[in-house]
Symmetry: C2
Subunit: 162 residues, 2 copies
């Protein structure tokens, strides 16, 4: 499976299929790597996958507690940390929030496109950005380990004339 050239997040699409596919990918990835995708963790991923938005940890926590899990912050933070560590979710620093990874298991250098109007988030292909980043860091003698690339702006729907 290859990465969509254009993320679906900003287009009308069958999100059931969209999220279902990602969830299946995530499950397969977890199995193949021997990760323990426990109930809280799986449920957390499902919650994140419900929309193409980023959710704060406390928002996730609220939802988890409605499903019978404990309502203490560490419950949400631990599940989210697990997902992020294992590439099943991303942290959107600009929003102090988290979003499901739409390409679990695939090598990708995500660029997050954050619509400031509707709050939706797309995960665009950032291979070239990553290359440019390396090129910018090298002359400084800096070796990159992880990057955060986030862009704030308007999605096509919100940019369209009212």
């Amino acid at each position: 499976m290859t990465i969509d050239p254009v993320p679906l997040a900003f287009s009308e699409h069958d999100h059931e299929t969209c999220s279902g596919g990602v969830l299946a990918q995530a499950g397969a990835l977890a199995a193949s790597r021997g990760l323990r995708l426990t109930p809280v963790r799986r449920r957390t991923l499902e919650i994140l996958l419900e929309s193409h938005r980023a959710m704060g940890a406390y928002e996730v926590l609220e939802r988890l507690s409605a499903d019978g899990f404990a309502k203490q912050p560490p419950v949400a933070y631990r599940a989210l940390e697990f997902l992020v560590e294992n590439g099943l979710a991303h942290r959107i620093r600009r929003l102090n929030a988290f979003a499901a990874c739409m390409h679990p298991g695939e090598r990708h250098s995500p660029v997050f496109l954050i619509c400031k109007s509707c709050d939706h988030i797309a995960e665009a292909q950032g291979a070239h950005v990553a290359t440019a980043l390396e090129a910018a860091a090298t002359p400084a003698g800096f070796s990159i380990e992880r990057t955060n690339v986030e862009a704030l702006g308007l999605c096509p729907a919100c940019a369209a004339p009212a």
Copy 2:
């Protein structure tokens, strides 16, 4: 004045001259734009300029209070907000912290190189990164307004063999 191809942050350098120059540039910029670089604001910038590190708002606040300013969070946050809004400082989201802009007034798409070991921060030239970012956003129909590009890794000094 043009932008240094290689940021000084990770090299030994005369930081007095380095920070003095930036402060002078900032002052000139403020004057030319009719910005009010009041005592708290100027002092805040000076504090940020003392090192190539990012400082949390409360750390800045601590310093400001030692200089006789009020010790309530808004004091620091307002000064920092002013500096960021006017391009005299940057917000480093990964660290929930702020750093002085090393190129005030110059068009630059900063890429922040954050050394995870010594905490120093360099502001590298991100023109190509910005281009790549635009290229990644365009197919999605997304129009970018602001970006955050941060890289975590090791500076040359910290990467060198112990």
